[in-house]
Amino acid sequence: MGTEAAFLAPVIPAIAFALILITGRRLPGIAPYLALAAIVASFVVWIVVFLAFLDDGAGTRSIEWFTVGGFEFTWGTTVDEISLVMLGVVSFVAIGIQIYSLEYLRDEPRLWWYFAVQSLFAAAMMTLVLADNLLLLYLGWELVGLGSYLLIGFWWERRPAAEAAKKAFITTRIGDVALLIGFVLLFRATGTFDISDITQLAHAGTIDETQLKWALIFIFGGAAGKSAQIPLHVWLPDAMEGPTPVSALIHAATMVVAGVYLVVRLFPIYNMVPDALDLIAVIGLLTALLAGVMALAMTDLKRILAYSTISHLGFMMLAVGAGFPGVAMFHLLAHAFAKASLFLGAGSISHGTGETDIREMGGLWRKMPFTTVAFWIGALSLAGLPLLSGFFSKDEILLAVHTGRLNDGFLVVTFVAIAFSVLYTGRMLYRVFLGQLLSSNDDAHEPGIRMWAPVGVFALLAAVLGAAAFEWSHNYLGFVSWVTDSEEGFHINAAITGASVVIVVVGLYLTWLIYVQRRISATVISRRLGFVAIAAERKFYFDEVYQWGINQLVLPTARLTAFIDRAWVNDIGVDGPGKTTRWGGGVLRYIQTGMVYNYALGMVIGAVVLGVIWWSV
């Protein structure tokens, strides 16, 4: 088997999904193991494909799907560095998540349904990752959205969960409309959905520049919706209403990075349009900054992590915007494992204490030492503590912003955003794990092995993956160069690295003073900040503005449309002819007497009239 076996990776979970749907109700017990077996098989496929890739290099393979007119549509897989990284992350994290779910959701009556949707999601995500054409990618894209919707709403009896699922679905759908418009624009310009063909045509200059620019901007709109970039980020914090393993898999490690993945995959085209890259960089940086500020104001542990995710997705977009898709992929990798361990750790904490509010936590390291270590590794990695993986990826991002196509203003703001990520990390870690243990948490406990093992593995990976950044041999010039096939080796800019280390140390010390030593009062600071603090706490009023927009614009428009539909289209257009006919019949039926000779008289008169007309004409 070679790289062409990659198509098995999404197919196996899809089969598992079908099997679980058939057997689920009658044999709910086997559903988790079917799903788990399928995802392990996908991971094995990944290993096989990866080894084949090392020998043979990148490969694509496609079969015909259908032909319309002169256009042929295909199912196809692309195996290259980017899709392999994503495929590995997706299948590996999914294994950990599903093992974790076995214990975390042990008592759920609908567990079989949970695992069915997990399999569906895995199949869709791998389809998206491997797709060699935009149409297939769009198929996977929509299906992961469906999986996300179903899993956020897993506890649909709870109203907030149902609302959050709906919000996530509709918000990402707004982006998806833009995405579809972008794809269709590209299709209209090139007559193909094949990504490599489109890239070649774009490089040959056959696509009109304005059209290409708008297509790419629309596609980025879709990516922004999926990857929760401002202003379409509002769904991700609410998506935390779903089960925690779902948040870890879909809303931290895999699905939300699909937007970044798409932009990276299309980077050769984006690279030709500086305007689109500028937009990506600005949106990414804005997202990284604002989400970091909002994370600092949240009190719910999972929401802090959600805003942290948004912030890091912003960093990834920023790296792409700076012209370094490989850096984005590296941060994606580092972030995936760190954030998976963080979310699963948060799940362990709420499992052990029954709390998700960090004000109700504190001193948990005494009760949950293992979870504490794993959580700290994940969090500090993302904050950029030296030698953990996040330190290297963050360093690469700073370097990308510095050496890339952006001006130095971006670098300054990036440092500010990183400072915020250190601050919220410190606040979260100290509030949750240090300080006084609350009496309500006296019976907090470590979870069983099926929960702590995945957390530990992910934390370990988050700790050591930074080693991938280095230049290990003349074939491997560091992860970033490997992913993008570039000749440039790994290097460090001492000033930037030094500054980022200083920010980490100062930030952690500052939060230490505030939340552990309590030398500085957090309430005094937020009072000093006044409006800014309140605005951050209210999530910069995005939800309020959108709610206002929905109430004042969308709903009245919908009501007007509904009225036009009712009054004009339905009552006049459809019912009108029917009612007129019935009314006419009601009047005219009195002509009918039911008497034979009346009808005969009618016939005679008719015949006479016809005869008269015949003769007179």
Partner: protein, 105 residues
């Protein structure tokens, strides 16, 4: 000497009598008989034209053949119609068309 026009006058007279009968009679049987008279008016017309036409004999005979067909079908039709009238009479105790006013909504 008989001319074509005499046949046609006879035919028109028969047809008018038939129409009058259909419209004026109240008994269903008499209405049927009037319809038969109208059919025979047509027959007279056809036979007359067949006899006086200046076409070849093998063409003229078609008019008479048509008449034979009409007589046959009229017999079948009157059999059916009388059966209906009989059923109506059995069910309603009368064959008066004034009382048969159900052929409507």
């Amino acid at each position: 000497m008989l001319e074509l026009v005499h046949f046609q006058i006879l035919s028109a007279a028969l047809f008018s009598i038939g129409i009058f009968g259909v419209l004026a009679r109240r008994s269903a049987v008499l209405v049927l008989i009037s319809i038969e008279i109208m059919l025979n008016a047509v027959n007279v017309n056809l036979v007359g034209i067949a006899a006086f036409s200046d076409r070849a004999a093998d063409v003229r005979v078609f008019g008479q053949i048509l008449v034979v067909f009409i007589i046959t079908i009229a017999a079948a039709e009157i059999g059916l119609a009388l059966a209906i009238v009989l059923r109506v009479f059995r069910n309603r105790g009368s064959a008066n068309v004034d009382e048969l006013n159900v052929m409507k909504w």
